[in-house]
Assembly symmetry: D2
Homo-oligomer: 148 residues x 4
């Protein structure tokens, strides 16, 4: 369960701005629901994602996973420390948390490193939703330890 917070800590401000900006690069003609994601690696590198939809809806991809997959392709041995997402068009005006599929991917990426991935879901109008790590997003998670 995440915690609502009113304002961002200084370390998140630049990330939040980059996530908001990259939402303009979403391809969302079907949902009209652009989402932007910015994640920060342990050396300060920022990797971005914007959702990319498809006429066959199941082949659409969320902003979070675009950023996560791109980060691990480019920098497989760096850890992911922070992940910020924002959906500027959200009707509810509330912070939007990742979908279950993205949570599963964040969870396994956190397992691959020895440190938590901190997540903030943003809304300029109503505040932010903060998660200390992927486990809060996916209680009693299924993961690699069950399979290998």
């Amino acid at each position: 369960m995440g915690n609502f917070i009113k304002a961002l800590e200084p370390g998140w401000l630049k990330l939040a701005q980059q996530a908001h900006t990259v939402a303009d690069n979403a391809y969302a003609p079907y949902s009209d629901f652009p989402v932007g994601c910015a994640l920060e690696l342990n050396d300060g590198t920022v990797v971005l994602g914007a959702n990319q939809e498809n006429a066959s809806y199941p082949l659409s991809m969320c902003a979070e996973r675009v950023a996560l997959f791109s980060a691990k392709t480019q920098f497989p041995s760096k850890t992911i420390d922070k992940l910020f997402i924002i959906a500027p068009n959200s009707k509810s005006k509330l912070p939007i948390a990742p979908c279950g599929a993205c949570r599963q991917v964040i969870y396994e990426m956190q397992k691959r490193q020895s440190s938590p991935i901190e997540i903030v879901c943003g809304s300029e109008e109503t505040g932010y939703l903060h998660f200390n790590d992927a486990g809060e997003l996916l209680p009693n998670a299924f993961g690699p330890e069950d399979l290998l």
Copy 2:
């Protein structure tokens, strides 16, 4: 967060047995991890699912979603009351909870009806994991209310 329970209540016994049996129909040549799912509708109808893998791993499908999609195709106006899953080959011997993608699908199907979907994840050896409804699987969920 789910609760561990030692034994199944009587109303779940037949469902558990059907989920275990249908796991034999899984097509899992890549993971060797068959999973069976049985769900019960409000009139007692049972619908089954077994995971169906693909050489292109992203096109594999979980047992839970096979059952859920099949149920709503056949009986769109009935409610889903109970869902039981079991992975007989699990290395951890612990009950296996649904992956994040399945949680998101369960969540929206629960939203489509006016009653909760109760979920039990089984392991004959170590007990069961019980969730009162889809919200326990997906705290702070993203859902249709954010989009429409």
Copy 3:
């Protein structure tokens, strides 16, 4: 490459009607694009699918895969002989062929049996698109033989 045909052969008429009917069971609040699928097994059993969408678009599922996964869960040792799909709301009024994800699933299910899966994509207004087997849908396919 499929072939356009003007009229259905008698063996497809009942299947086409069932696919059309089950499209009413689609859950398509986001796309307003219901699709129905009916497939026939070697003993004449018919299994149905209707698309089931999700607010997280990537977690939506196509009608074809609902029917295919359900068929193999219930009848893993029967072969799939015929598959018919129709999208009653299609703007183009042309027969709609399966998306790439469904093609990959049809392809591997065909590999699992010793006989082709014949596919017809329907439109009552403009005729039908016919494929002799899954290979026509997915030339130079990636499949289990590359992996195992």
Copy 4:
């Protein structure tokens, strides 16, 4: 249908080498089947992808889509001109073509631009498979024109 070619044209050599190298960044503990993808934009920019698997197999992602989604996030207005993929561990020693899901994504990205995406699938041992554009990968494709 693609064409087999013995050797790469000079314009593809660097791209092929980058795809081969980035396959080392794949996270493929379940399949042991790393894949690398390199695509080139109209201004010569190269964007890379490596497959990223998940214990929940359906949440795995192919190398091609990692590269494609990342490219459109970073450079939404540039066109994708060339895409090269290679699976260094392929048992068949033959060039591996994209799965159906990736074909559908390539297809819609080609639709978004006014020029074809040329695709080469590589194998150092047995030659290459060449496609002039996404249409050759997905005959009678379903696409945005059917939906919007």
